[in-house]
Symmetry: D2
Subunit: 330 residues, 4 copies
């Protein structure tokens, strides 16, 4: 009820403060007898980890997944799966000076207002580190729906824009998840330049879902589009969500919409229709700027690292709705 | 679990098919001893009702609220409040021809795929009539937080756009909820013209929230922005959500964002900071066009009628989060 | 969250005060395409209705089920099913004298303490009339698991005791649900004598479940026995629950238990094992005694009328767990 | 939804298999700014730990609590509190022989039937070790309601019976939690004798709650008595629950009940009335008997070790209902 759980049948409960002992997640609702591969899970965590992408934060954190329950001899048991990631890279800094330092656009002030207490050494629950729980959850969601393809990519990052949908979703889009990989060097230089200036930048991410089963999503409040919106807006820096033609529809007539099948973004009445789903979200720039942002641990643009988090949240919504729908197939 | 409930402490359960006996809602979690006024509730329903706005559907439906429980001598009892609205205006049409008529962009086909059965006489649960449950819920939510001002208005409707925030939220914006009321006649003519052509149009709605208590929203999955997004995307025709500067942020630097307090849209870290909240949503045009759309019961633009629904969903989210936060104030 | 909902996948939301306009229930989670028979539903309500059993309350109430949603052409739609029963038999009594009349053992005082307000004309939500919602829910639960046989019977009613398990579960046990139907006249006389004295009496009920699928129940908190216990203790007058050999086990050794398969009551580790389930509950006598109890509307023993309620709650638990288990069978 | 969570506002999510890496729990809903004392928490775990009570299992396990989140500088943060206990004492036994060894009365067979897989090295989720999560939860629940006194004691253990309510709840009842501590040596001898015979025995536990706030419990499904019943029946070996005069009421008249205030067990209409609560539960004997039961790790009677688990579950129910009630006090 304090909002640290997500999903009804495939349910995540996330815990951990960025400067506490560990981040972690309990996933209740993973079906039994699915094959578990720690290397694949670790690979997903590595995509999110800092220090792996040139131009993004240099902090090298291991983010090593430790499975505490729910797996036996390489299979899921059907019992809750708990996975933790230790917080290893906390500097013994003079944290006292941060006690009353409320960073604008962060949860520092609102956390204090809400709880009357906070762990001032970092973002606490509001830290981007909390997203490790989601990446872990996304891995297990993909075991539930292995046939579904969920691919997110950077469609805008500062001056770099990619407005089409990439043709080959199986190819890697490189360290910046930007489909036009010929721009990688330019993006790298752009980000390093931002970093040296203590500046940050926002952007957009698009998500494609292929092979989604029909009939997922519920007709009233738990429409699939509504749960996608919630899942993606629950990521700290995300400030907008749209699907299908999105905001363009404000300028369209009904005739134009009806003539364009992709208008519906793979969902009609909030229920999947079996066609390709397309969603778009906006990330705000991180609000830490200036001298502080020149320090090693700050990213000038968090979007590339957020890609696995975005994919994970979409997978979790789909796994949850798939199990819900399956319950009633009697 | 079939998604007909919304909210955790202030919880709505909606029921009813458009062509069944009645629409209704049970609201569990309304605190006791609040004063109930049936006339105010009925007034909210009337704002949503068809046939009240020139240029919108001519079907005259009474949509009379009947309270079945939870109220005693003009006060809430703290017990579940059930309210129903009878469906009175169903024509004895030849519904059989609709049996295999799947309207594009509606839930007709996906409902059939999902359940293997549907009430083909109308939209069923996916009908816009389902939103009466939300308007009723919104009325009771406003009893929980009477001091909070929630105001939605049309910021775009076809060629008509209003990009500023209106200064006086207490004034009526007229039948089209468009703040520049000098345009009312033009809008009327525009809509009647659309109607005669069997055409429809989309648009945008902005929502302002003033006087929201600080500390509402939970730091991980149930961020206030996430629950607003879900609430609003659960409305049938809504295809995008943003808050604060929204999509503009994709083009902004961190410095620009930090310099602009309204960037944060009244929420930091997903938690209300006491400042004004601003959100924007896009409505797609209704996909029913052509000869069928020229019939009386079709709106060329549903947005004006959706305004009370939008306000209700925002109020429900706020009441729910207020009660959740209050639980832990011990 | 105010406790008016029960079940997770097969979920009831109950509403209504005994002296308000109507009692009702919304059932969300009934699978689509099941055949609905209003006569059978009404028959279940009639079993619970007052005035049908000699020796029980003489108040003749119709308790007519009115279906508001979720059914179309005799089939469930998969959408929420709302059913109401109007409260028709409220006398225009001088209710003011009841305002500060807190009946011992009833919820009158605690309701006032809890909410600071109550509908003093009757028991409100705590009235036995609330159980119509459960009987309705039980009917729909039986559509989910038609092959499961749930049979409750009176095993003790004042001096009348039946300690064995009846052999033929399909035979009717008559108006008192007492398997030794040769005692019916004696029971009738006994109850009429109690009534004339303004006295009441308690008793016990046993429940047999045959043909339950294996694997229902969850190993930690939602053990099947735990959910049965909750379901049955949620009935107003129930003061104890046991299953299998129950309290006898306090005096038994492990050897004795292991040697007796029926010890386990059809559940091992809280999960159904496919064998017969047996449960026993105790009803306290109604605490209204003396002159007031001699009036027409009071039952000297409510147990016979509670039998369909007991069966309904057991069916609801089973349907809920069946759908939960089915969700993960992928 | 797989039943590993308990409580709505004060919510536990339990994880861990007995022979996996760790047992653990995430508690979401502990209010912020409460003082945390690891020593007190550890003391509660020690009460439950094996090998601490003469006559009970000799296995010495440390059961050391490790806090992973939610605590900062000795205070609760209001964020989820994760605590784990490593499983340290697993012998490298020849587990293969256990693969098809389904112990009667345990979850072995039903777990296999339910999931199609199980960790055959031990009881898995159904192991008594799972109860460490409850003891940890109970500690945090006691921070929410420090003024409430919850005391459980053994009222029957084989031939030893204590039928009164002890006068001084603050005194220790010794290693067997039996109020007549003069019997301790006899009990010790009795248990050692059972052990040597490979035998086990059942018994009963009574729970007293003093100083409970009025108004806790919800009038329909979430009656306080119903949630107590569920909480206590969710403990593996518990086979019955009653409150107040319990089963005796089957033999009582309404007059007798009305004349006896303690009949109501501190709850009227399922809502706390401020008076003392009394509940009684039955434990079955462990069904492992014979040669296997003579090994070190088996208890001839688990009841003394279950006392802190019983107290914890009652505290958790009370904390949960207290927060729920508090939410609506606006």
């Amino acid at each position: 009820m304090r909002g640290n759980s997500f999903g009804k049948m495939f349910s995540l409960t996330s815990f951990g403060e960025s400067h506490g002992p560990a981040m972690g997640v309990v996933i209740d609702g993973v079906p039994a007898n699915l094959s578990f591969d720690l290397n694949v899970l670790q690979g997903e965590l590595d995509r999110r980890a800092p220090g792996k992408i040139a131009g993004t934060t240099a902090r090298s954190e291991s983010d090593t997944a430790e499975v505490l329950s729910g797996i036996f001899e390489g299979k899921t048991l059907g019992t809750p799966i708990a996975v933790i990631v230790r917080n290893t890279n906390q500097k013994s800094a003079d944290y006292d000076k941060l006690k009353n330092d409320y960073r604008p656009g962060h949860a520092d002030k609102t956390t204090q207002l809400k709880y009357g207490i906070r762990d001032h050494r970092g973002g606490g629950r509001a830290s981007g580190r909390e997203t490790v729980s989601r990446v872990i959850g996304g891995y297990f969601a993909s075991l539930v729906l292995p046939q579904v393809k969920v691919k997110a990519f950077v469609s805008k990052l500062g001056p770099f824009a990619y407005s089409a949908l990439p043709e080959n979703l199986n190819s890697s889009f490189g360290p910046y998840s930007f489909p036009d990989t010929t721009k990688n060097d330019e993006i790298k230089n752009y980000l390093e330049d931002l970093k040296s200036k203590g500046e940050s930048v926002g952007g957009t991410v698009r998500i494609i879902v292929d092979n989604c089963p029909v009939g997922l999503g519920e007709p009233a409040f738990d429409k699939l589009k509504a749960d996608f919106a919630k899942a993606l807006l629950s990521i700290g820096a995300v400030v907008s969500f749209s699907y299908g033609l999105g905001e363009e529809m404000a300028n369209m007539t009904g005739s134009a919409v009806s003539a364009n099948a992709s208008s519906f973004g793979g969902m009609e009445g909030g229920i999947s229709n079996g066609e390709r789903m397309v969603m778009t979200i906006t990330f705000k720039p991180t609000s830490t700027v200036g001298e502080k942002a020149k320090e090693g641990r700050h990213d000038p643009c968090i979007i590339p690292r957020a890609i696995p988090v975005v994919e994970a949240m979409v997978k979790i919504v789909l796994a949850d709705h798939f199990l819900r729908q399956n319950a009633y197939a009697i």
